[in-house]
Amino acid sequence: MTPVLDAMTPVLEMSAASFAYRGSAAPVVEDISLKIEAGQSLALVGESGAGKTTLLRLLLGLARPTSGTVRFDGDQLNLRDRRQMRRFRRSVQCVFQDPYSSLDPRRRVGSIVSEPLRSLGVDDRRTAVPKVAEALERVGLPADAAERYPHEFSGGQRQRIAIARATVCDPRVLLADEPVSALDVTTRVKVVDLLSELKEERGLTLVMVSHDLSVVASLCEHTAVLERGRIVEQGDTAQVLGAPVDPYTRCLVESVPRLPA
Protein backbone atom coordinates (compact mmCIF):
# COMPACT_ATOMS: atom_id res chain seq x y z
CA MET A 1 0.00 0.00 0.00
CA THR A 2 2.55 2.53 1.15
CA PRO A 3 5.09 3.44 -1.48
CA VAL A 4 8.38 2.07 -0.33
CA LEU A 5 10.85 4.86 0.09
CA ASP A 6 14.34 4.78 1.35
CA ALA A 7 13.75 3.54 4.89
CA MET A 8 16.17 6.10 6.25
CA THR A 9 14.39 9.14 4.87
CA PRO A 10 11.71 10.46 7.19
CA VAL A 11 8.42 11.40 5.50
CA LEU A 12 8.33 14.66 7.38
CA GLU A 13 11.17 16.28 9.21
CA MET A 14 11.56 19.56 11.00
CA SER A 15 14.94 20.93 11.86
CA ALA A 16 15.43 23.82 14.22
CA ALA A 17 12.12 25.29 13.04
CA SER A 18 10.76 28.41 14.67
CA PHE A 19 7.71 30.48 13.91
CA ALA A 20 6.88 34.01 15.03
CA TYR A 21 4.05 36.24 13.89
CA ARG A 22 5.11 39.29 11.95
CA GLY A 23 5.85 42.17 14.27
CA SER A 24 5.94 39.94 17.31
CA ALA A 25 9.25 39.31 18.99
CA ALA A 26 8.32 36.16 20.90
CA PRO A 27 8.15 33.08 18.69
CA VAL A 28 5.11 30.82 19.04
CA VAL A 29 7.28 27.76 18.55
CA GLU A 30 11.04 27.73 18.80
CA ASP A 31 13.84 25.44 17.72
CA ILE A 32 11.67 22.43 16.96
CA SER A 33 13.36 19.34 15.57
CA LEU A 34 11.20 16.32 14.79
CA LYS A 35 11.37 13.28 12.56
CA ILE A 36 8.30 11.45 11.34
CA GLU A 37 9.25 8.16 9.82
CA ALA A 38 6.87 6.00 7.82
CA GLY A 39 4.82 3.79 10.12
CA GLN A 40 6.02 5.54 13.27
CA SER A 41 3.16 7.59 14.60
CA LEU A 42 4.00 10.68 16.58
CA ALA A 43 2.00 12.52 19.20
CA LEU A 44 2.54 16.19 19.94
CA VAL A 45 1.43 16.66 23.51
CA GLY A 46 0.94 19.93 25.28
CA GLU A 47 -1.56 22.25 26.89
CA SER A 48 -3.20 25.37 25.53
CA GLY A 49 -0.69 27.93 24.33
CA ALA A 50 2.05 25.34 23.90
CA GLY A 51 2.16 25.98 20.15
CA LYS A 52 0.68 22.66 19.05
CA THR A 53 -1.58 24.15 16.43
CA THR A 54 1.18 26.33 14.98
CA LEU A 55 3.39 23.30 14.72
CA LEU A 56 0.65 21.48 12.86
CA ARG A 57 0.23 24.39 10.45
CA LEU A 58 3.94 24.24 9.67
CA LEU A 59 3.76 20.49 9.09
CA LEU A 60 0.70 20.98 6.87
CA GLY A 61 2.45 23.52 4.69
CA LEU A 62 -0.04 26.23 5.64
CA ALA A 63 2.67 28.44 7.09
CA ARG A 64 6.38 28.78 6.51
CA PRO A 65 8.78 28.61 9.46
CA THR A 66 10.48 31.95 10.17
CA SER A 67 13.69 30.02 10.58
CA GLY A 68 14.68 26.39 10.20
CA THR A 69 13.23 23.96 7.69
CA VAL A 70 10.43 21.51 7.09
CA ARG A 71 11.37 18.62 4.82
CA PHE A 72 9.06 16.27 2.94
CA ASP A 73 10.58 13.01 1.67
CA GLY A 74 13.97 14.58 2.20
CA ASP A 75 13.33 17.72 0.15
CA GLN A 76 12.77 21.08 1.70
CA LEU A 77 9.09 21.96 1.51
CA ASN A 78 8.60 24.89 -0.82
CA LEU A 79 5.08 26.32 -0.68
CA ARG A 80 5.58 27.87 -4.14
CA ASP A 81 6.67 24.67 -5.89
CA ARG A 82 3.36 23.52 -7.36
CA ARG A 83 4.50 20.04 -8.33
CA GLN A 84 6.01 19.30 -4.95
CA MET A 85 2.95 20.74 -3.16
CA ARG A 86 0.63 18.56 -5.22
CA ARG A 87 2.61 15.48 -4.25
CA PHE A 88 2.71 16.72 -0.66
CA ARG A 89 -1.05 17.39 -0.47
CA ARG A 90 -1.77 13.90 -1.78
CA SER A 91 0.54 12.36 0.78
CA VAL A 92 -0.34 14.44 3.82
CA GLN A 93 -3.96 14.97 4.85
CA CYS A 94 -5.60 16.42 7.93
CA VAL A 95 -8.41 15.82 10.42
CA PHE A 96 -9.59 18.65 12.67
CA GLN A 97 -10.82 18.90 16.21
CA ASP A 98 -14.26 20.36 15.67
CA PRO A 99 -16.39 18.10 13.48
CA TYR A 100 -18.93 20.90 13.15
CA SER A 101 -16.70 23.56 11.66
CA SER A 102 -14.69 21.16 9.52
CA LEU A 103 -17.51 20.14 7.17
CA ASP A 104 -19.09 22.67 4.81
CA PRO A 105 -22.76 22.74 5.91
CA ARG A 106 -24.00 23.46 2.38
CA ARG A 107 -22.38 20.51 0.67
CA ARG A 108 -23.45 16.93 0.49
CA VAL A 109 -21.20 14.42 2.17
CA GLY A 110 -20.25 12.92 -1.19
CA SER A 111 -18.99 16.26 -2.41
CA ILE A 112 -17.14 16.89 0.87
CA VAL A 113 -15.36 13.55 0.81
CA SER A 114 -14.44 13.77 -2.87
CA GLU A 115 -12.95 17.26 -2.57
CA PRO A 116 -9.30 16.12 -2.29
CA LEU A 117 -9.70 13.85 -5.32
CA ARG A 118 -11.21 16.61 -7.42
CA SER A 119 -8.91 19.39 -6.23
CA LEU A 120 -5.81 17.32 -6.80
CA GLY A 121 -7.03 16.46 -10.27
CA VAL A 122 -7.10 12.73 -9.57
CA ASP A 123 -10.75 12.29 -10.36
CA ASP A 124 -13.79 14.20 -11.52
CA ARG A 125 -17.13 14.13 -9.78
CA ARG A 126 -18.20 10.99 -11.60
CA THR A 127 -15.06 8.88 -11.32
CA ALA A 128 -14.74 9.81 -7.64
CA VAL A 129 -18.04 8.11 -6.73
CA PRO A 130 -16.72 4.55 -6.15
CA LYS A 131 -13.72 5.84 -4.19
CA VAL A 132 -15.99 7.96 -2.00
CA ALA A 133 -18.24 4.97 -1.37
CA GLU A 134 -15.21 2.91 -0.41
CA ALA A 135 -13.86 5.60 1.91
CA LEU A 136 -17.25 5.98 3.62
CA GLU A 137 -17.55 2.24 4.06
CA ARG A 138 -14.05 2.09 5.52
CA VAL A 139 -15.01 4.55 8.27
CA GLY A 140 -18.20 2.62 8.98
CA LEU A 141 -20.80 4.91 7.43
CA PRO A 142 -23.78 3.70 5.41
CA ALA A 143 -23.51 3.93 1.62
CA ASP A 144 -26.33 6.45 1.33
CA ALA A 145 -24.39 8.90 3.52
CA ALA A 146 -22.95 10.50 0.38
CA GLU A 147 -26.34 11.89 -0.55
CA ARG A 148 -26.97 13.54 2.81
CA TYR A 149 -25.89 16.79 4.45
CA PRO A 150 -23.54 17.07 7.45
CA HIS A 151 -26.26 18.35 9.81
CA GLU A 152 -28.00 14.99 9.55
CA PHE A 153 -25.10 13.32 11.38
CA SER A 154 -23.96 13.22 15.00
CA GLY A 155 -20.58 14.52 16.14
CA GLY A 156 -18.93 11.11 16.00
CA GLN A 157 -20.33 10.40 12.55
CA ARG A 158 -19.18 13.79 11.34
CA GLN A 159 -15.67 13.02 12.53
CA ARG A 160 -15.87 9.79 10.54
CA ILE A 161 -16.83 11.81 7.47
CA ALA A 162 -13.78 14.02 8.07
CA ILE A 163 -11.59 10.93 8.34
CA ALA A 164 -13.09 9.56 5.11
CA ARG A 165 -12.21 12.84 3.39
CA ALA A 166 -8.67 12.73 4.73
CA THR A 167 -8.08 9.14 3.64
CA VAL A 168 -9.90 9.08 0.30
CA CYS A 169 -6.76 9.91 -1.70
CA ASP A 170 -4.64 7.29 0.06
CA PRO A 171 -2.28 9.61 1.91
CA ARG A 172 0.77 8.29 3.73
CA VAL A 173 0.52 10.68 6.64
CA LEU A 174 -2.57 11.76 8.54
CA LEU A 175 -2.16 14.87 10.65
CA ALA A 176 -4.85 15.02 13.29
CA ASP A 177 -5.58 18.02 15.50
CA GLU A 178 -7.23 16.74 18.70
CA PRO A 179 -9.33 14.37 16.59
CA VAL A 180 -11.45 12.99 19.44
CA SER A 181 -11.48 15.64 22.14
CA ALA A 182 -14.83 17.09 21.02
CA LEU A 183 -16.50 13.67 21.23
CA ASP A 184 -18.31 11.80 23.99
CA VAL A 185 -16.37 9.06 25.75
CA THR A 186 -18.12 6.12 24.11
CA THR A 187 -17.83 7.75 20.68
CA ARG A 188 -14.24 8.69 21.42
CA VAL A 189 -13.24 5.08 21.91
CA LYS A 190 -14.84 4.10 18.61
CA VAL A 191 -13.02 6.81 16.66
CA VAL A 192 -9.73 5.90 18.34
CA ASP A 193 -10.34 2.30 17.27
CA LEU A 194 -11.04 3.46 13.73
CA LEU A 195 -7.82 5.46 13.56
CA SER A 196 -5.85 2.55 14.93
CA GLU A 197 -7.44 0.27 12.32
CA LEU A 198 -6.47 2.66 9.52
CA LYS A 199 -2.92 2.70 10.87
CA GLU A 200 -2.69 -1.07 10.88
CA GLU A 201 -4.50 -1.86 7.67
CA ARG A 202 -3.42 0.98 5.45
CA GLY A 203 -0.01 1.66 6.85
CA LEU A 204 -1.03 5.20 7.67
CA THR A 205 1.43 7.26 9.69
CA LEU A 206 -0.40 9.34 12.24
CA VAL A 207 0.81 12.67 13.56
CA MET A 208 -1.55 13.70 16.29
CA VAL A 209 -1.80 16.82 18.36
CA SER A 210 -3.48 16.05 21.64
CA HIS A 211 -3.71 16.97 25.27
CA ASP A 212 -5.28 13.64 26.13
CA LEU A 213 -2.55 11.25 27.19
CA SER A 214 -4.70 8.14 27.08
CA VAL A 215 -5.55 8.81 23.44
CA VAL A 216 -1.88 9.44 22.72
CA ALA A 217 -0.95 6.19 24.40
CA SER A 218 -3.58 4.31 22.41
CA LEU A 219 -2.37 5.51 19.03
CA CYS A 220 1.21 6.73 18.87
CA GLU A 221 4.58 5.02 19.17
CA HIS A 222 6.42 8.28 19.68
CA THR A 223 5.60 11.30 21.79
CA ALA A 224 6.98 14.81 21.90
CA VAL A 225 5.99 17.03 24.81
CA LEU A 226 5.65 20.74 24.14
CA GLU A 227 5.77 23.44 26.74
CA ARG A 228 5.51 27.09 25.75
CA GLY A 229 6.66 26.54 22.17
CA ARG A 230 9.58 24.24 22.92
CA ILE A 231 9.96 20.49 23.00
CA VAL A 232 10.88 19.55 26.53
CA GLU A 233 10.97 15.81 26.04
CA GLN A 234 10.55 13.39 23.15
CA GLY A 235 10.99 9.71 22.47
CA ASP A 236 9.24 6.40 22.75
CA THR A 237 5.72 6.92 24.14
CA ALA A 238 6.18 4.20 26.77
CA GLN A 239 9.38 5.90 27.87
CA VAL A 240 8.01 9.43 27.90
CA LEU A 241 4.75 8.60 29.69
CA GLY A 242 6.05 5.71 31.77
CA ALA A 243 9.26 7.25 33.04
CA PRO A 244 9.07 10.96 32.36
CA VAL A 245 12.34 12.81 32.89
CA ASP A 246 11.19 16.39 32.48
CA PRO A 247 9.29 17.82 35.48
CA TYR A 248 6.59 19.24 33.23
CA THR A 249 5.94 15.86 31.61
CA ARG A 250 5.79 14.31 35.05
CA CYS A 251 3.22 16.88 36.17
CA LEU A 252 1.21 16.23 33.02
CA VAL A 253 1.17 12.47 33.56
CA GLU A 254 0.25 12.82 37.22
CA SER A 255 -2.60 15.22 36.48
CA VAL A 256 -4.58 12.74 34.39
CA PRO A 257 -7.72 11.91 36.39
CA ARG A 258 -7.98 8.16 36.96
CA LEU A 259 -10.92 5.91 37.62
CA PRO A 260 -11.20 4.61 41.16
CA ALA A 261 -9.46 1.25 41.41
Binding site: E47, S48, G155, D184, V185, T186, T187, R188, V189, V192, H211, D212, L213, S214, V215, A217, S218, T237, A238, L241, G242, A243, C251, L252, V253, E254, S255, V256, P257, R258, L259, P260
Partner: protein
Protein backbone atom coordinates in the same frame (compact mmCIF):
# COMPACT_ATOMS: atom_id res chain seq x y z
CA UNK B 1 -34.41 17.59 55.38
CA UNK B 2 -32.95 17.40 51.89
CA UNK B 3 -31.26 20.45 50.49
CA UNK B 4 -32.39 19.39 47.03
CA UNK B 5 -35.34 17.15 46.29
CA UNK B 6 -36.18 16.54 42.64
CA UNK B 7 -39.28 14.45 41.96
CA UNK B 8 -40.42 13.34 38.52
CA UNK B 9 -38.81 16.32 36.82
CA UNK B 10 -39.81 16.39 33.15
CA UNK B 11 -38.51 19.00 30.74
CA UNK B 12 -40.17 19.57 27.40
CA UNK B 13 -39.39 21.78 24.45
CA UNK B 14 -41.99 24.11 22.96
CA UNK B 15 -42.92 21.51 20.35
CA UNK B 16 -43.43 18.85 22.97
CA UNK B 17 -40.24 16.82 22.76
CA UNK B 18 -39.25 15.36 26.14
CA UNK B 19 -35.62 16.15 26.99
CA UNK B 20 -35.64 15.06 30.61
CA UNK B 21 -38.06 12.34 31.61
CA UNK B 22 -39.36 11.83 35.16
CA UNK B 23 -36.01 12.34 36.83
CA UNK B 24 -35.81 12.06 40.59
CA UNK B 25 -32.83 12.75 42.81
CA UNK B 26 -32.10 14.02 46.31
CA UNK B 27 -29.11 15.65 47.94
CA UNK B 28 -28.74 15.93 51.73
CA UNK B 29 -27.04 18.92 53.33
CA UNK B 30 -23.29 18.55 52.85
CA UNK B 31 -23.72 15.63 50.46
CA UNK B 32 -22.18 15.44 46.99
CA UNK B 33 -23.85 13.94 43.97
CA UNK B 34 -22.29 13.46 40.55
CA UNK B 35 -24.46 13.65 37.44
CA UNK B 36 -22.86 11.67 34.61
CA UNK B 37 -23.94 11.64 31.02
CA UNK B 38 -22.94 12.31 27.45
CA UNK B 39 -24.13 15.15 25.24
CA UNK B 40 -27.90 15.09 24.89
CA UNK B 41 -28.40 13.25 28.15
CA UNK B 42 -30.19 16.23 29.74
CA UNK B 43 -27.73 16.65 32.59
CA UNK B 44 -27.11 20.34 31.98
CA UNK B 45 -30.80 21.06 31.54
CA UNK B 46 -31.42 19.44 34.89
CA UNK B 47 -29.02 21.83 36.61
CA UNK B 48 -30.67 24.79 34.91
CA UNK B 49 -34.09 23.58 36.01
CA UNK B 50 -32.87 23.41 39.61
CA UNK B 51 -32.22 27.15 39.51
CA UNK B 52 -35.26 27.94 37.36
CA UNK B 53 -32.97 29.00 34.52
CA UNK B 54 -34.42 26.95 31.67
CA UNK B 55 -34.11 28.61 28.26
CA UNK B 56 -37.19 30.22 26.72
CA UNK B 57 -39.71 27.81 25.34
CA UNK B 58 -38.72 24.92 27.61
CA UNK B 59 -41.07 23.93 30.38
CA UNK B 60 -40.51 21.89 33.50
CA UNK B 61 -43.12 19.79 35.27
CA UNK B 62 -42.85 17.72 38.41
CA UNK B 63 -41.24 19.04 41.54
CA UNK B 64 -37.90 20.65 42.35
CA UNK B 65 -37.58 21.61 45.99
CA UNK B 66 -34.46 23.60 46.75
CA UNK B 67 -33.97 24.20 50.48
CA UNK B 68 -37.73 23.99 50.94
CA UNK B 69 -38.66 26.32 48.05
CA UNK B 70 -40.61 24.89 45.14
CA UNK B 71 -38.77 25.97 41.97
CA UNK B 72 -41.14 24.60 39.35
CA UNK B 73 -43.66 27.32 38.60
CA UNK B 74 -42.08 29.78 41.05
CA UNK B 75 -42.17 33.51 40.36
CA UNK B 76 -39.01 35.25 39.21
CA UNK B 77 -38.89 37.21 42.49
CA UNK B 78 -38.75 34.01 44.56
CA UNK B 79 -36.13 32.54 42.23
CA UNK B 80 -33.90 35.58 42.61
CA UNK B 81 -34.01 35.09 46.37
CA UNK B 82 -33.07 31.46 46.06
CA UNK B 83 -30.22 31.87 43.59
CA UNK B 84 -26.96 32.63 45.31
CA UNK B 85 -28.40 32.16 48.80
CA UNK B 86 -29.48 28.53 48.52
CA UNK B 87 -27.65 27.45 45.39
CA UNK B 88 -25.00 28.89 43.08
CA UNK B 89 -23.67 27.57 39.82
CA UNK B 90 -20.30 27.37 38.06
CA UNK B 91 -20.48 26.82 34.30
CA UNK B 92 -18.14 25.08 31.90
CA UNK B 93 -16.95 28.11 30.02
CA UNK B 94 -15.77 30.84 32.39
CA UNK B 95 -15.20 33.29 29.56
CA UNK B 96 -18.88 33.44 28.70
CA UNK B 97 -20.00 33.23 32.33
CA UNK B 98 -18.18 36.45 33.22
CA UNK B 99 -19.11 39.89 31.89
CA UNK B 100 -16.31 40.79 29.47
CA UNK B 101 -16.71 44.53 30.07
CA UNK B 102 -16.57 44.50 33.85
CA UNK B 103 -13.48 44.24 36.02
CA UNK B 104 -13.23 40.96 37.90
CA UNK B 105 -13.28 42.64 41.33
CA UNK B 106 -16.52 44.43 40.55
CA UNK B 107 -18.18 41.23 39.39
CA UNK B 108 -17.35 39.53 42.67
CA UNK B 109 -18.38 42.60 44.64
CA UNK B 110 -21.87 42.57 43.18
CA UNK B 111 -23.22 39.44 44.91
CA UNK B 112 -21.31 40.35 48.10
CA UNK B 113 -22.92 43.79 48.22
CA UNK B 114 -26.35 42.44 47.42
CA UNK B 115 -26.40 39.45 49.75
CA UNK B 116 -24.27 40.57 52.65
CA UNK B 117 -24.97 44.31 52.38
CA UNK B 118 -21.27 45.20 52.39
CA UNK B 119 -20.00 48.62 51.36
CA UNK B 120 -16.76 50.54 50.89
CA UNK B 121 -13.64 49.21 52.60
CA UNK B 122 -15.44 46.18 54.02
CA UNK B 123 -16.61 45.24 50.55
CA UNK B 124 -13.12 45.65 49.14
CA UNK B 125 -11.72 43.45 51.88
CA UNK B 126 -14.38 40.82 51.20
CA UNK B 127 -13.48 40.78 47.49
CA UNK B 128 -9.79 40.25 48.29
CA UNK B 129 -10.72 37.48 50.71
CA UNK B 130 -12.92 35.83 48.12
CA UNK B 131 -10.06 35.82 45.62
CA UNK B 132 -7.54 34.58 48.17
CA UNK B 133 -9.89 31.85 49.17
CA UNK B 134 -9.77 30.33 45.66
CA UNK B 135 -5.95 30.52 45.86
CA UNK B 136 -5.54 33.23 43.27
CA UNK B 137 -2.11 34.85 43.44
CA UNK B 138 -1.97 38.67 43.58
CA UNK B 139 -5.69 39.17 44.33
CA UNK B 140 -5.20 42.93 43.93
CA UNK B 141 -4.06 42.61 40.33
CA UNK B 142 -6.72 40.04 39.45
CA UNK B 143 -9.47 42.23 40.91
CA UNK B 144 -8.44 45.08 38.62
CA UNK B 145 -8.19 42.86 35.53
CA UNK B 146 -10.84 42.26 32.88
CA UNK B 147 -11.81 38.62 32.27
CA UNK B 148 -9.84 38.37 29.01
CA UNK B 149 -6.67 39.53 30.75
CA UNK B 150 -6.40 36.44 32.96
CA UNK B 151 -5.95 32.78 32.05
CA UNK B 152 -8.75 30.23 31.66
CA UNK B 153 -7.87 28.55 34.93
CA UNK B 154 -7.86 31.89 36.76
CA UNK B 155 -11.21 32.81 35.23
CA UNK B 156 -12.72 29.57 36.46
CA UNK B 157 -11.38 30.32 39.95
CA UNK B 158 -13.01 33.73 39.75
CA UNK B 159 -16.29 32.09 38.74
CA UNK B 160 -15.95 29.74 41.70
CA UNK B 161 -15.23 32.67 44.02
CA UNK B 162 -18.41 34.37 42.78
CA UNK B 163 -20.44 31.24 43.36
CA UNK B 164 -19.06 30.82 46.86
CA UNK B 165 -19.37 34.52 47.74
CA UNK B 166 -22.83 34.16 49.24
CA UNK B 167 -22.15 30.91 51.03
CA UNK B 168 -24.78 28.87 49.20
CA UNK B 169 -26.02 25.63 50.74
CA UNK B 170 -25.66 23.87 47.39
CA UNK B 171 -22.95 24.38 44.79
CA UNK B 172 -23.83 23.29 41.26
CA UNK B 173 -20.81 22.71 39.04
CA UNK B 174 -21.59 22.04 35.38
CA UNK B 175 -18.49 20.57 33.70
CA UNK B 176 -16.37 23.12 35.56
CA UNK B 177 -13.06 21.71 34.36
CA UNK B 178 -13.88 20.50 30.86
CA UNK B 179 -12.52 23.63 29.18
CA UNK B 180 -9.32 23.57 31.24
CA UNK B 181 -5.93 22.02 30.62
CA UNK B 182 -5.33 18.78 32.44
CA UNK B 183 -2.80 20.18 34.93
CA UNK B 184 -5.12 23.10 35.68
CA UNK B 185 -8.08 20.73 35.95
CA UNK B 186 -6.28 18.73 38.58
CA UNK B 187 -5.60 21.84 40.71
CA UNK B 188 -9.16 23.05 40.24
CA UNK B 189 -10.65 19.74 41.38
CA UNK B 190 -8.46 19.73 44.49
CA UNK B 191 -9.44 23.31 45.25
CA UNK B 192 -13.13 22.60 44.79
CA UNK B 193 -12.85 19.58 47.05
CA UNK B 194 -11.11 21.53 49.82
CA UNK B 195 -13.39 24.56 49.73
CA UNK B 196 -16.55 22.51 49.75
CA UNK B 197 -15.25 20.36 52.58
CA UNK B 198 -14.38 23.42 54.69
CA UNK B 199 -17.88 24.79 54.24
CA UNK B 200 -19.70 21.50 54.51
CA UNK B 201 -21.49 22.49 51.33
CA UNK B 202 -23.66 20.19 49.24
CA UNK B 203 -22.52 19.70 45.64
CA UNK B 204 -24.21 18.71 42.42
CA UNK B 205 -21.32 17.97 40.07
CA UNK B 206 -22.11 17.47 36.40
CA UNK B 207 -19.62 15.87 34.03
CA UNK B 208 -19.20 13.51 31.12
CA UNK B 209 -16.00 12.16 32.67
CA UNK B 210 -16.30 9.34 35.22
CA UNK B 211 -12.72 9.79 36.42
CA UNK B 212 -13.26 13.50 37.10
CA UNK B 213 -16.54 12.92 38.92
CA UNK B 214 -15.01 10.22 41.08
CA UNK B 215 -12.45 12.72 42.37
CA UNK B 216 -15.16 14.99 43.78
CA UNK B 217 -18.18 12.90 44.64
CA UNK B 218 -19.02 9.55 46.17
CA UNK B 219 -22.51 9.02 44.81
CA UNK B 220 -23.32 9.30 41.10
CA UNK B 221 -26.39 9.25 38.93
CA UNK B 222 -25.91 8.13 35.32
CA UNK B 223 -28.18 9.78 32.75
CA UNK B 224 -28.91 8.90 29.15
CA UNK B 225 -31.41 10.55 26.80
CA UNK B 226 -33.13 12.30 29.67
CA UNK B 227 -33.55 9.21 31.82
CA UNK B 228 -31.82 8.18 35.01
CA UNK B 229 -30.07 4.92 34.12
CA UNK B 230 -28.34 3.95 37.32
CA UNK B 231 -27.50 5.47 40.68
CA UNK B 232 -25.09 4.45 43.36
CA UNK B 233 -21.64 4.62 44.89
CA UNK B 234 -19.13 5.73 42.28
CA UNK B 235 -16.63 2.99 43.15
CA UNK B 236 -19.35 0.40 43.03
CA UNK B 237 -20.57 1.59 39.64
CA UNK B 238 -17.09 1.64 38.15
CA UNK B 239 -16.34 -1.80 39.56
CA UNK B 240 -19.62 -3.49 38.71
CA UNK B 241 -21.95 -1.45 36.50
CA UNK B 242 -25.43 -2.98 36.43
CA UNK B 243 -27.01 -1.36 33.39
CA UNK B 244 -25.87 -1.90 29.83
CA UNK B 245 -25.28 1.77 29.14
CA UNK B 246 -23.23 2.24 32.27
CA UNK B 247 -21.20 -0.82 31.31
CA UNK B 248 -20.45 0.73 27.90
CA UNK B 249 -19.50 4.01 29.54
CA UNK B 250 -17.18 2.38 32.04
CA UNK B 251 -15.70 0.07 29.40
CA UNK B 252 -14.88 3.04 27.16
CA UNK B 253 -13.22 4.93 29.99
CA UNK B 254 -11.35 1.80 31.01
CA UNK B 255 -10.16 1.10 27.48
CA UNK B 256 -8.60 4.54 27.14
CA UNK B 257 -7.09 4.38 30.58
CA UNK B 258 -5.64 0.93 30.04
CA UNK B 259 -3.76 2.22 27.00
CA UNK B 260 -2.09 4.65 29.32
CA UNK B 261 -1.16 1.92 31.78
CA UNK B 262 0.12 -0.40 29.06
CA UNK B 263 2.36 2.28 27.66
CA UNK B 264 3.70 3.39 30.96
CA UNK B 265 4.56 -0.02 32.33
CA UNK B 266 5.89 -1.63 29.18
Amino acid sequence: MNILDVRDLTIRTADGRVLVDRLSLTIDPGERLGLIGESGSGKSLTTLAVLGLLPDGMTATGSVELAGTQIVGAREKQLTDVRGRDAAIVFQEPLTALDPLMRVGKQIAEPLARRRGLKGAALKRAVTEALEQVRLPEPGRIARAFPHEISGGQRQRVALAMALACDPKLLIADEPTTALDVTVQSEMLDLLDTLVRERDMAVLFVSHDLAVVSKVTDRVLVMKDGHAVEEGDVREIVRAPREEYTRALVASARQLESALDLRSTR
